[in-house]
Amino acid sequence: MSRRARLALFAAAAPALAVTLGAGLAGLPSFGGQITSYARMLSELAPRQRHITDVVSAISFDYRGIDTLFEEFILLSAVAGISVLLRPLSDETRQLPEDKAPDRTIPPPSPAVWLLAVFLSSMLVLTGIETITHGQLTPGGGFQGGVILASALYVVYLGTNYVTVERFQPAPLLEAYDGVGAFGYVFIGLLGLLAGAGFLSNVVGLGVTGNLISGGTIPLLNLVVGVEVAGGFAILASEFLDQTAVIRTRRR
């Protein structure tokens, strides 16, 4: 497209965008203004109906649980797409970094870096589990905790080397986490149907508000989402790392 045609297209499109965007923005409620009646109703009802203290968890895993199910599958298909896209192609080969200079050994990381990696990765695992299991009580939940768990593996890589981190994350295990987590969500949804209520109804005992085990299916769904997200993000990181560290174009 020539410069003149692009400018003409822009001149036509910019006012149209400005008008529609302006009309849309004019219809928005004022900033930080009134709380909608739906929000007020949910913060009133959710703690009593679902025995939770974090209303956002009750919305995303119970009242709007079906939306989260679809988001689960968006992540699953995104990770599957990345895996297909980043596989070794026919003119590429997997080659460990040390194969380039077999007579030279890679110096191990200094003890200080290693100690920091051990300390940080164990703290990250702990924080991840804490975030997943307390989803119904405090901000956080399966998605956030899952990413924190996967990030523990990055720290292992930073503190050691490629071969060690591959031992920590065997691909079949990560794929199993991803798949089992996604299926677990559907399975917990089917529990509702088995109990004679609707799909994804909260049919498990609700427990006492404020306890670690409370909220019925909400902590269970957080757990399976956490497993899926941890597996998915670990696959994502290891696919990108493979591309950078070991996959290279075959010499002709």
Binding site: Q144, V147, A237, T244, R248
Partner: protein, 80 residues
Amino acid sequence: MSEAVIAVALVWVAASGTAVVLTRDPLRQAFVAGFFGLALAFLYLSLQAGDVALSQIVVGAIALPLIVLLSLAKVRKGRE
């Protein structure tokens, strides 16, 4: 008081967002984008959206910079 915090957060978001656009080198942009993510998380927190702030931190500070940095490493290695 809370208005002041929100105002600081909004200014921080605007400034760091502009900085992301004005940074031309992709490697530096990855770091600046990380700070932009932090500013967004602070804004969400100041608006009392703790869950969204946590999601923003894990995506903006862990997932996005990692993918950008590893992609840059791959592209630069291909050029050598």
